[in-house]
């Protein structure tokens, strides 16, 4: 185990070195930043560095979570203002260079804190030991398996939570596992249309668990673990795609037991399901 981790560390150093070398050729100072222009809404390592450097200078006071949100945006604009640059809220070449010149960034330390799930800050002039608090440890060795990826926080479509997305993915997987992708987006869209419709419960959970509304809830298939495709379909539906033409019901004509559902005005058939109003 110990030797293993030493090996990983060694690999890490080499990779980091290569990275440093490459970046060094392109731009003189922007060591760890990649060449991308970082824009609001972005996620990933560059954002972690941006937030850390802004925090080092005292512009950014929020959590270093790797998501370019509003707080990062205002911090960056303040930085651009103070350093007499064009205030556009974009971290492009000049901005990154000035940031790198003005601040320090201890990448290894920051990544370690994130990996260990600790609450930490990255202010300049404060000893590191005072800036890290033991936070809720993340589940076991899961984080260690993918050391290079920083994904501490996530963008979520407006008005929904990660848990809503999980629940919807479960419902979509249970209801439309064997359907083509578009049929899965359609099922997710029906759930969202119902939440918006005044005749149905007003929450995702209310709609999904309404008795007799979904067969997957009745027969327990909703508790199967959904795959990545079901989640993708849910995200598309949450971002506004609605292949059903605003349907609020659907049924499988081969297995539908209710005569009433056949009487609903039908919009279209996607995969095995007929969608209706």
């Amino acid at each position: 185990m110990k030797r293993n981790s030493a090996y990983i560390k060694g690999m890490f150093c080499i990779i980091a070195l290569c990275f440093g070398l490459f970046a060094g050729f392109g731009q003189n100072n922007a060591h760890a930043f990649s060449n991308q222009v970082i824009q609001q809404g972005a996620t990933g390592e560059d954002v972690v560095e941006l937030q850390s450097r802004l925090q080092y200078l005292g512009f950014y006071t929020g959590p270093i979570d790797g998501v370019f949100g509003w707080r990062t945006y205002w911090a960056l604009r303040n930085f651009q203002y103070e350093f007499g640059m064009k205030i556009d809220g974009l971290a492009g070449g000049t901005t990154k260079q000035k940031l790198v010149k003005a601040s320090k960034y201890d990448k290894a330390w920051v990544n370690k804190q994130i990996k260990e799930g600790k609450k930490f800050t990255h202010y300049g002039g404060v000893p590191k030991s005072k800036q890290s608090k033991a936070g809720p440890a993340k589940g076991g060795g899961q984080a260690a398996a993918k050391p290079a990826q920083v994904k501490p926080a996530k963008n979520i479509p407006d008005g929904y939570s990660q848990n809503d997305i999980n629940l919807m993915a479960n419902a979509v997987y249970g209801e439309a596992r064997g359907e083509p992708y578009i049929g899965q987006v359609a099922v997710a869209a029906v759930i969202i249309n119902r939440v918006a419709d005044s005749r149905f419960p007003k929450t995702v959970s209310g709609v999904i668990f309404e008795p007799r509304a979904f067969t997957a809830v009745a027969d327990g298939q909703i508790y199967l673990t959904p795959n990545q495709q079901a989640r993708k379909a849910v995200m598309d539906a949450l971002n506004g795609w609605d292949p059903t033409g605003e349907a609020i019901y659907y049924f499988n004509p081969d297995t539908a037991t209710s005569g009433w559902i056949w009487g609903r005005p039908q919009i279209k058939k996607i995969g095995k399901h007929i969608f209706c109003n």
Partner: protein
């Protein structure tokens, strides 16, 4: 000897199975009973709330003073929402109970609108008073029917589990007191569906009445739809395209196209309006690899796409990265005013910058030639209506739909209060605060998605 042992063993096996079966049976009964209890509670709660609703509406009719009316209407609103919630917990999804649910939600909307209104400035009109009276009568009918059903159910010891079984096996035509009772309630409401809820509530309903008849152009055929799609994607002829026409129940007539490209092995789905052949939405399904391009590069891809396919000037209003997918929202810009109802969403793959999707239904539904009026109040005046602690960072002009679904011109203020960023819309005509929206920050990850 062996026979005796066998007999004993057999006996033990039979006794064991019997005991096992008995405990299983008891477990099953316990669970059924628990489900039944949940249904019973929701059912009796529903009755209680409808009773209370009826009483409360009656009280509001008798009230005269404004400062009592508002709280009473707020109570009505709360009770309708509770009753609606109870309905949502009963296995009625496949029963024609939608009229009643619609009635409840309209009643809630009406009471909310009137409760939050400044009744000193704008008291209840005669028409609204009449609406309240109608609602009272209506609630009384519902209450009576529900009570009847409740008492019959109690007298005959009826179980909701039987209702569920009846619905599951589609035996609704057989005599089932509860199902019949609910059907009667729904019929009763149907007779009352003409209640005039006033312009504010019917505006909400109008939103559902979506059509695309205002689009320019003539109706296209299936063949023309195919050609539009080929043009749209610059496709070669080897692509397999299937076209379906939307059914009779569709809110707007459209063609649904499925395009399979043997070169990329990707499938693209697309809906085109029948009138004019405008794309409603496009969704491209393929595996997306690791993110290789930045969100910023993806934005340029999206803007190229917009330039190619849209005549209107669009401005980005949001950009988000979801691992290897970027999603951008654009609103139309006219004379520096953001027309928020006219939005399109574009999805870009971050592995190679492919456009993965386009969603323009809202744009097509809301798009029209608008005239931008001169704003009556100045930005400076609008600012005086903001919370003094709110620190403004950016100002722009916008057209939004307010909470009663009217389109209003506003000043849009983007700023911070404490650590949070807010978007505040101030009406450009009268300085009213039309909408305040807290902009969401990223959610910490609780587990791996």
């Amino acid at each position: 000897m062996i026979r005796t042992i066998l007999i004993v063993l057999l006996f033990v096996a039979v006794a064991g199975t019997g005991y096992w079966g008995y405990t299983e049976h008891q477990d099953k009964n316990a669970i059924l009973l628990q489900a039944e209890n949940n249904y019973q509670r929701a059912f009796h709660d529903l009755n209680f709330h409808v009773d209370a609703l009826h009483d409360k509406i009656g009280e509001t009719l008798a009230m005269n003073s404004r400062n009592q009316l508002s709280p009473a209407l707020a109570q009505v609103w709360r009770l309708t929402s509770e009753a609606h919630n109870d309905v949502g917990q009963l296995p009625l999804a496949l029963l024609p109970f939608t009229k009643t649910e619609q009635f409840l939600s309209k009643m809630g909307e009406f009471s909310y609108r009137t409760a939050v209104r400044d009744l000193d400035k704008k008291p209840l009109s005669d028409k609204e008073y009449k609406t309240l009276k109608d609602l009272y009568a209506n609630a009384s009918e519902i209450q009576n029917e529900l009570r009847k059903t409740e008492s019959l159910a109690q007298k005959n010891n009826l179980r909701w589990m039987d209702v569920e079984m009846a619905l599951a096996t589609n035996k609704t035509n057989e005599d089932n007191t509860i199902i019949d009772g609910f059907k009667t309630v729904d019929k009763t409401v149907e007779g009352y569906s003409e209640v005039d809820f006033g312009p504010e509530v019917s505006n909400m309903m109008k939103m559902q009445n979506r059509n695309l008849s205002q689009l320019k152009g003539k109706e296209i055929t299936k063949e023309e739809a195919k050609n539009i799609a080929i043009d749209f994607f610059d496709l070669k002829k080897n692509v397999k395209i299937t076209v379906e026409k939307s059914g009779k129940g569709a809110k707007y007539d459209a063609y649904s196209l499925t395009l399979y490209n043997p070169d990329t092995k990707g499938t693209t789905y697309m809906d085109l309006t029948k009138k004019g052949g405008y794309p409603l939405w496009v969704l491209y399904d393929r595996n997306v690899g690791k993110a290789k391009i930045s969100l910023n590069d993806a934005m340029f891809q999206a803007e190229d796409f917009l330039k190619k396919h849209m005549d209107s000037k669009m401005e980005m209003v949001s950009s988000d990265q979801y691992e290897n997918i970027a999603v951008f929202t654009y609103a139309r810009l006219q004379d520096d005013v953001r027309i928020y109802p006219e939005v399109v969403t574009i999805k870009v793959a971050l592995d190679n910058g492919d456009i993965m999707g386009y969603e323009g239904t809202d744009f097509l539904l809301a798009h029209q030639d608008r005239r931008i009026p001169t704003f009556k109040i100045s930005e400076k005046e609008a600012r005086t209506n903001l919370n003094p602690k709110f620190e403004v960072k950016e100002v722009s002009k916008a057209l939004i739909k307010n909470d009663i679904n009217e389109e209003v011109f506003c000043y849009e203020f983007l700023g911070v209060l404490g650590n949070e960023t807010y978007q505040v819309f101030i009406n450009a005509e009268n300085g009213n605060e039309e909408e305040v929206k807290k902009l969401k920050e990223a959610e910490p990850s609780y587990n791996e998605i």
